[in-house]
């Protein structure tokens, strides 16, 4: 459930997820029968959509509701009309037709989607502004102050080599938006945004490409500063003094931002896309822009790899791998396989009349090679199959409505990057550089394989005629065929074997390189999150200890919750006794004592001889907890003179309200709890309202459309008078807004904030 990040995630806002597609049906008072019926159906429809998740998300669920709820609700709403009707405003008396209600609902839903889209757009723009501001702060103010340090810092300016281009791209993007003089609320804004982004995309790619390819250098320099504690403390002091409002403790705090920013564009754009109607004129453009942002990331990563390769060419004194591979020429292969062939011959006991050791060696090598290639291909395909299985799991989509928390957001960003471009690039390279050539190689095996078999056939023929001195014309032909094939294979198989082996060897080197690049891409991504997560500074051992203990603690709390829910809610109702029941109670207690009194939880119908019939709630005394045959499910009871058997499953212990109840045999006690809470109910029991710990406010602007509604501005605090309308529909709520005006507003326009937490401006969300 995607929530627009309008409010800063550090305050825990429980914002509402996307509201239901249909706006709540307007409340209608008396209606004539058929309209009533229409509306009732619609109410149901309205209810259905209200409680189902509205978009076709994988998580959409529809709750089954019994119709009895609806009818009981209606009757109830009439009953409880009493105390609150004075406070209610008279709803309008206009009678709307079902059709008009539906239209209104659709319009309201569209309005809400538009607001969410607006927020997502503003988030992109505001965060861009913030990002640029912080970069400028670091480049100008902080760098300026650091330059003044004595003795001067080595290599300081080298850390800022490429940040100017990045800042330039960002400021150009923002100025394009400002120039057009459209505001985010303007329908044209989205188009402007996409066009600006697309027009700058090649410049963005060029700027970020260089920046990211050189980012390692920045961390190297900073680490060199960290080696000297005094120097580093000084640097941190300057940073803090230059930017007191920012909680930064290193230079990379700022300089890592471009790394993260470029990876965030896809997510930001996709969020906007999510809340945009496909019929929107700029939708196709937006989709294209989102794809472009992913392509940008792919291109930037590819360039980074390219530069690494170019920079890292190693010269070793010993033979390089490439040379070693090239040494695998035909001659050396033939020689080395001689031993192999002897082994195989020995094992199979084949001694053809004409033994050609050299050929056999080549042939055996070929078969071994063939087997190796086929097996490798199969293994690679299995690997790719599982890779696709992994890519199919979109775990980042479920955030349990924790959009405001840092860890889920980081997880979402990491997983989005991994799943949407880092792993796909890896897969693509695997297929291009390994799978495809391997398939081609496998296809080439056919020729030599068939030829070898043909040779063997011809050999058998040849053996028959070889000894003869006078060969007929046909026999000559047969002999020549054999000799030709044999010679051909002898000449070319070594080369085939050698080249094929070289290819396999190179492919494995590529395989290793692909893994390294994948890991390197992920490492770069992680760098931007390193400082944001609260426990990232813990050592591995400490971290896992913490995580596991939290899991245990969480499990404990859940257990406590379960138990408390079960205890309280399963407690039976203690009814006051009717006079006849009171007499029965006294009678039984006098005879059997108070410890043996049980009550029938449900009516008991006798099914056997000597069984009793009991009414629900009837009191009995238990004489024996089993019958004469030892069956513990049948208890002998005294029902005030009548004696007989009753099923123990239907009996519960009876306690006088005033007594302390003994612990139930069915529930296990948690540690430290001495008794179970079973309540004695009295009219003066605890008050029903508890201390509120949340305040309610408007999450979105709402414009009143009539005198019975009240307008709200987003962020305004309201007091809820009634969380439903006159018909009991919870989709509208009666609120009192600032200024004392009262009226109805859509319930899902309201949200909760913990008391005492302020609200920040949009766009103040930053990854730190």
């Amino acid at each position: 459930m995607e929530v627009p990040r309008r409010l800063p995630p550090s305050s825990f806002t429980l914002t509402l997820p996307k509201p239901a597609a249909s706006a709540p049906a307007s409340f209608v008072p008396e209606k004539d029968p058929e309209e009533e019926e229409n509306l009732r159906e619609e109410d149901e429809a309205g209810e259905e959509t209200f409680i189902s998740t509205e978009e076709a998300e994988p998580g959409a669920s529809v709750v089954e509701r019994s119709n009895s709820n609806l009818s009981s609700r209606d009757s109830f709403s009439e009953e409880s009309g009493g105390p609150m009707s004075e406070e209610r405003l008279a709803p309008e008396a206009d009678e709307e037709t079902g059709r008009k209600c539906e239209e209104e609902e659709r319009a309201a839903a569209k309005e809400r989607a538009a607001q969410r889209q607006l927020m997502a757009i503003e988030e992109l723009v505001q965060s861009e502004r913030n990002y640029l501001r912080l970069l400028q702060l670091s480049t100008v103010t902080i760098r300026g102050n650091l330059l003044k340090l004595q003795p001067p810092l080595l290599n300081l300016n080298s850390m800022f080599l490429h940040v100017d281009e990045v800042m330039d791209a960002s400021s150009r993007l923002l100025s394009l938006l400002d120039q057009k003089r459209v505001r985010p609320g303007d329908p044209l804004f989205l188009q402007t945004l996409c066009e600006s982004f697309l027009s700058l995309s090649s410049d963005i790619e060029a700027a970020y490409k260089e920046y990211l390819a050189n980012y390692n250098h920045i961390t190297v320099v900073e680490n060199s500063y960290k080696q000297r504690e005094g120097l580093w403390n000084e640097i941190v002091r300057v940073i803090k003094a230059s930017a007191p409002e920012v909680n930064a403790t290193s230079l990379t705090f700022f300089l890592v931002m471009p790394v993260q920013r470029i990876a965030r564009y896809p997510l930001l754009l996709q969020t906007i896309q999510k809340h945009t109607d496909p019929a929107h004129p700029a939708y196709a453009l937006l989709e294209h822009t989102a794809h472009t942002s992913i392509a940008l990331n792919c291109g930037i990563n590819e360039y980074k790899r390219f530069r690494e390769v170019a920079d890292k060419y190693k010269k070793t004194e010993t033979l390089t791998i490439k040379d070693k591979i090239n040494r695998l020429n035909s001659h050396s292969i033939a020689k080395k396989t001689a031993r192999l062939s002897q082994q195989i011959k020995h094992e199979t006991g084949i001694t053809p009349k004409l033994v050609d050791e050299e050929f056999d060696a080549l042939q055996d090598f070929f078969y071994v090679l063939e087997h190796g290639i086929l097996e490798l291909l199969e293994n690679v395909e299995t690997y790719l199959h599982h890779l696709q299985g992994f890519l199919a799991c979109r775990t980042e989509e479920f955030d349990l409505d924790m959009d405001g928390e840092k860890a889920p957001i980081c997880y979402k960003e990491i997983t989005t990057a991994l799943r949407q471009w880092i792993l796909p690039t890896f897969e693509k390279r695997m297929r291009t550089l390994i799978h495809r050539p391997l398939c081609a190689l496998r296809d080439l095996l056919v020729g030599p394989r068939n030829l070898i078999r043909k040779r063997l056939d011809k050999l058998l023929d040849y053996e028959l005629i070889e000894a003869k001195s006078n060969l007929s014309y046909e026999e000559h032909a047969v002999a020549n065929t054999y000799r030709t094939i044999n010679t051909l294979l002898l000449n070319e198989l070594p080369q085939f074997n050698g080249v094929a082996l070289q290819m396999i060897w190179s492919m494995l080197g590529t395989f290793s390189c692909l893994h390294r690049d994948l890991a390197s891409d992920m490492e770069q991504l992680f760098q931007s999150f390193a400082q944001q997560l609260p426990h990232s500074s813990l050592s591995p051992g400490a971290f896992w200890e913490w995580a596991e203990s939290m899991a245990l603690e969480g499990a404990r709390r859940l257990e406590t919750l379960c138990r408390s829910v079960e205890d309280t809610l399963n407690a039976p109702v203690v009814q006051p006794l009717s006079p006849s029941s009171q007499r029965r109670l006294k009678q039984l207690m006098d005879k059997h004592g108070s410890g043996k009194i049980w009550q029938a939880a449900a009516a008991v119908v006798s099914s056997r001889d000597l069984d009793l019939n009991l009414a629900k709630g009837e009191l009995v005394a238990v004489i024996s907890e089993m019958d004469t045959r030892g069956d513990r499910r049948r208890w002998l009871v005294d029902a005030g003179g009548r004696r007989g058997y009753a099923p123990s499953s239907k009996l519960i212990r009876y306690h006088q309200p005033a007594e302390d109840p003994p612990p139930s045999p069915h529930l296990t006690l948690p540690d430290g709890v001495t008794g179970i809470r079973r309540h004695s109910y009295s009219p003066e029991s605890r008050p029903l309202t508890s201390q509120p710990c949340f305040q309610v406010m408007a999450a979105y602007d709402f414009a009143a459309r009539g005198s019975h509604e009240v307008s709200l501005r987003a962020g305004e605090r309201v007091r809820v008078l009634e969380p439903h309308d006159k018909r009991g529909n919870p989709e509208w709520s009666l609120v009192e807004a600032r200024g004392g005006q009262r009226g109805y507003v859509p319930s899902n326009y309201l949200t909760l904030m913990p008391l005492g937490v302020g609200v920040g401006p949009p766009g103040s969300y930053l990854p730190h």
Binding site: V380, C513, S564
Partner: protein, 249 residues
């Protein structure tokens, strides 16, 4: 959908109505989300493990093929690859174990709470129905002419109503207390899981980088770009295709 606002409002007001739908629908949403996330996490880790095992098989099968013995340098490369794959697989296994303990198991436990909560909601609804039934009974007698027998019946009905109402309101309050806390508790409950997910991956990919950086230095020093690799491969394939034995006559 988020039902907390309603719950809080019910705390402010005395209205007890309609919570059932709110509870069931919103509890349902959280339950569904939790279950789906659990399922997807499981599938994802299974695929992850399978991938890693497949990678190990690639190098292990090659190493056991007699091809390797043909050239010492080739054999050395294969050994290095095999070692690297096995190490990566063991790190992967460790990563999955950590995720199992700190993410998947907690998800499962969280799902396990819903049957109790759903039952509690049902019980509350039952109590509400009892309450309403007795309430209407009381009101029925209140509307009648105040004769002696009627007054007696009215008194009895009121006596009957009282504990049932109290029971309902206690159950109601309990749910109103616990449900928002439960819903809100998911943040504290799952925060460590998300952090653990990230950390486990950071560790894994850091190790993966070290392993494969070293291995690549050893068996792929040429450091070609993708285009260069493709060209080389194509050149070799062409060389093979040029052989007469390859063209199937």
């Amino acid at each position: 959908s988020n039902w907390l606002p309603f719950l809080v409002w019910f705390q402010f007001s005395n209205s007890h109505m309609f919570i059932n739908d709110v509870f069931t629908s919103c509890g349902q949403w959280l339950e569904d989300q939790t279950k789906k996330l659990h399922k997807d996490m499981k599938k994802s880790t299974e695929a992850d493990l399978a991938m890693s095992k497949a990678a190990v098989k690639i190098s292990a099968d090659l190493l056991s093929n007699p091809l390797c013995e043909q050239d010492q340098a080739f054999l050395d490369s294969m050994n290095a690859l095999d070692t690297a794959m096995k190490r990566m697989d063991s790190f992967n296994q460790e990563k999955v174990n950590q995720i199992q303990k700190t993410v998947i198991d907690p998800l499962k436990k969280y799902s396990g709470v819903f049957p109790s909560l759903n039952m509690a909601v049902k019980r509350r609804e039952q109590a509400l129905q009892d309450y309403k039934r007795l309430q209407s009974k009381v009101e029925k007698y209140e509307e009648k002419e105040k004769t002696g027998p009627v007054m007696v019946k009215l008194h009895q009905a009121r006596e009957e109503l009282r504990p049932v109402r109290d029971d309902f309101e206690a159950k109601n309050k309990q749910l109103l207390d616990e449900m928002p806390k439960f819903y809100h508790s998911r943040i504290d409950y799952f925060q460590p899981s998300f952090e653990a997910l990230i950390r486990a991956q950071v560790v894994y990919f850091t190790e993966m980088y070290k392993i494969f950086n070293d291995l690549t230095d050893q068996i792929d020093q040429a450091g070609l770009t993708d285009e260069q690799r493709e060209r080389e491969t194509e050149a070799k394939l062409s060389e093979l295709r040029a052989l007469s034995i390859v063209a199937d006559d």
